[in-house]
């Protein structure tokens, strides 16, 4: 029997090519409920959603010229969570299913290989899964809306489209960026440290407005300030590098797309400490201006074109997959992570139907560390609390300490939690 298959979207192409034995780009979205998770009900909810989300229940397969995603015969088995999030998805697992559903006590979480979708697409799946789980558990009907899809509907073609191809400009915007500072530390294999800062959303918003910035810009500025301080105390003047925060931009809002697949591009706003010192208001101003200048449909379509155009060149399309992988790795090492210090991905305020407001106590977003930089930061706000999740694969947490201590100094109360067993 032939199974359904789909091409990888433009952003997804890079992730299988650059994956390593000890590194795969995975992110996690989780919802904590008011009662312990029932694994049998969760499994049934996962099974129910398969026809609605055909782009999620897939595995990675290798073709002669490209990777592709193939429908899986069953559904992924839900399992208990491990001691740390984002456990490495090994090659065998990627060839079985690129999606992982886990639970621990009251929390259910979904981990996605980044080739499937981005944070916003994944959030739609998590919301719908949580709604279906609660429906099965309580028997109450949860209406579709606020990102929850009707699980009995058929998937719309625009949910499965590669929106990059649709919105690429004719003109390519190709800006070269210098290499940024990379935090170093003692690598710890087989464990990821997670530090969660719980922050009252109104206090954070008030602090951001005090500096005339949005929450994302304010957090990016505080992070940049912490990185500048880190660099100042550790790295000699001659070897200092630009401090830049990689900020993903949700293109759905810019182009009105409904795709559930990847549709983000990243910007690297930041400052060069070699030009002089920067205060927090200056950082807010510079980073805010850089993001506003770039995150426009016109500029973004040029950036999309820069990614899409090589995919349309015939000799590149005809090159065998191993050759493409080699080239993509080379390009990524020069133009990818090298240009940012760490990623700050803010999903914004998560909204759910009123029926889910009571049972859902917490929602979080965690992104895995990259190949070269050991930290990453995922932010999500739910029910008046902002969850800032720092993940790292090194022992030292100096950057997080500087960041959270600075927020406290600015009058933003922070409640810290850790998965560290020590």
């Amino acid at each position: 029997m032939s199974r359904k298959w789909m091409r990888l979207d433009n952003a997804a192409l890079i992730f299988p090519a650059i994956r390593k034995r000890r590194w795969v780009n995975v992110f996690r979205l989780s919802a904590t409920l008011d009662a312990p998770i029932d694994p049998a009900i969760l499994q049934a909810a996962v099974d129910d959603l398969k026809p609605r989300f055909p782009s999620m229940y897939v595995r990675l397969k290798t073709g002669l010229f490209w990777y592709y995603l193939e429908e899986i015969p069953g559904t992924p088995q839900v399992r208990e969570d491990y001691a740390y999030p984002l456990v490495l998805m090994q090659e065998k697992e990627l060839h079985t299913c690129c999606l992982r559903v886990v639970y621990f006590r009251n929390r259910l979480a979904v981990e996605f290989f980044h080739s499937l979708t981005d944070g916003n697409g994944g959030l739609v799946y998590l919301k719908t899964l949580t709604a279906r789980y609660l429906e099965r558990k309580t028997g109450a009907r949860i209406p579709a809306g606020e990102g929850v899809l009707d699980w009995q509907d058929k998937p719309a073609p625009e949910e499965l489209e590669d929106s990059f191809q649709k919105h690429a400009n004719k003109y390519v915007l190709n800006d070269k960026e210098p290499a940024a500072l990379h935090v170093r530390g003692t690598y710890e294999p087989n464990f990821l440290h997670l530090l969660t800062g719980r922050i009252p959303a109104d206090a954070l918003l008030e602090a951001s407005h005090r500096y005339g910035a949005t929450v994302t810009v304010f957090l990016a500025a505080v992070l940049a300030e912490s990185l500048l301080q880190y660099q100042q105390t550790r790295i000699g003047r001659d070897r200092r590098r630009p401090v830049k925060i990689t900020v993903p931009v949700n293109l759905r809002k810019l182009y009105g797309s409904r795709t559930l697949r990847n549709f983000i591009l990243t910007l690297n706003p930041g400052v060069d400490p070699r030009m002089g010192t920067y205060t927090l208001p200056e950082l807010c101003k510079v980073i805010g201006a850089q993001i506003s200048a770039e995150a426009t449909p016109q500029r973004m379509s040029g950036r999309i074109a820069a990614n899409v155009s090589p995919q349309q060149v015939l000799p590149i399309r005809l090159a065998p997959l191993p050759v493409k992988n080699l080239v993509m790795r080379l390009v990524y090492s020069v133009r990818g992570e090298r240009c940012g210090c760490l990623t700050l991905s803010n999903l914004g305020v998560i909204r759910l139907p009123a029926e889910m407001g009571e049972p859902v106590k917490r929602m979080e977003f965690i992104i895995g560390p990259q190949i070269t930089y050991p930290h990453n930061c995922g932010v999500a706000t739910w029910n008046g609390t902002t969850y800032v999740n720092f993940i790292r694969n090194i022992r030292e947490c100096e950057l997080e300490r500087l960041f959270f201590a600075r927020l406290v100094e600015l009058g933003v109360p922070v409640h810290i939690e850790s998965n560290d067993p020590r």
Partner: protein
């Protein structure tokens, strides 16, 4: 509970701040900290290195064995297969064997490679009834081994004062070329100071220049100012 150093609020029952490791203690709290994650660990990923290493080991062993069998059947003795087998062993132990270990300590494996080279040269010398091993090959390999090990140790375990270290190494390499020529002269009866003077002079001068540049900061700054490009 709050951390006195960072000012962040902490979960009840924790013993130290997760950010700065400052101990926190509240005599009134009796709450046990609740874990956010389970105590279950995944199985660490299997390394693909070991099967590849095992394959290479078997392949090289098979090569050695087939060469040995060929020599024994053809000549009735080890003959030239000794060179092949020991050469393969030398390459294996210097370049492949270290990869069996998780941590490859260069101060163990670099001297080991030079010792094995000595062993290989000794075999060649004995097999050919030569008398060049002890007076020439052994001291030369030992000198080269000592210089390589010292440079690995200097640059791996200390990242400061690179200019001085490089200078000192160049002087040592320059002087050792004279030693090597001395052993050549003793063993093979060649003339002394035919070639070693050139590398000794050039390397020592460059080395001394680098050492002085490292030792005298104003001079280094002057050179940087004049020679920047």
């Amino acid at each position: 509970m709050y951390c006195v150093k960072c000012g962040v609020r902490l979960n009840e029952g924790v013993t130290a701040c997760p950010l700065c490791r400052t101990p926190v203690w509240n005599p009134e709290t009796k709450v046990e900290p609740t874990a956010n994650y389970s105590a279950r660990y995944p199985r660490p990923p299997k390394s693909k290195r070991y099967p590849i290493l095992a394959f290479i080991t078997i392949l090289l062993a098979a090569l050695c064995l087939s060469v040995l069998i060929f020599c024994l059947t053809q000549y009735g003795r080890v003959a030239w297969s000794g060179y092949v087998m020991l050469g393969v062993a030398l390459v294996y132990f210097s370049m492949i064997f270290p990869f069996w270990f998780e941590k490859r300590h260069p101060l163990i494996f670099v001297p080991l490679a030079f010792l094995l080279t000595c062993g290989y040269l000794l075999y060649i010398c004995l097999y050919n009834h030569g008398n060049w091993f002890l007076p020439f090959a052994f001291p030369v390999v030992m000198i080269l081994g000592a210089i390589t090990t010292a440079s690995v140790a200097l640059f791996r375990y200390g990242k400061r004062r690179r200019l001085r270290k490089t200078g000192a190494l160049l002087v040592v390499i320059g002087c050792s070329s004279m030693l090597i020529e001395m052993f050549e002269c003793i063993t093979f009866g060649t003339e002394m100071f035919t070639w070693s003077l050139y590398p000794t002079c050039v390397l020592s001068l460059v080395g001394l220049f680098l050492i002085l540049s490292g030792v005298i900061p104003p001079w280094r700054e002057y050179l940087e100012r004049k020679l920047f490009f």
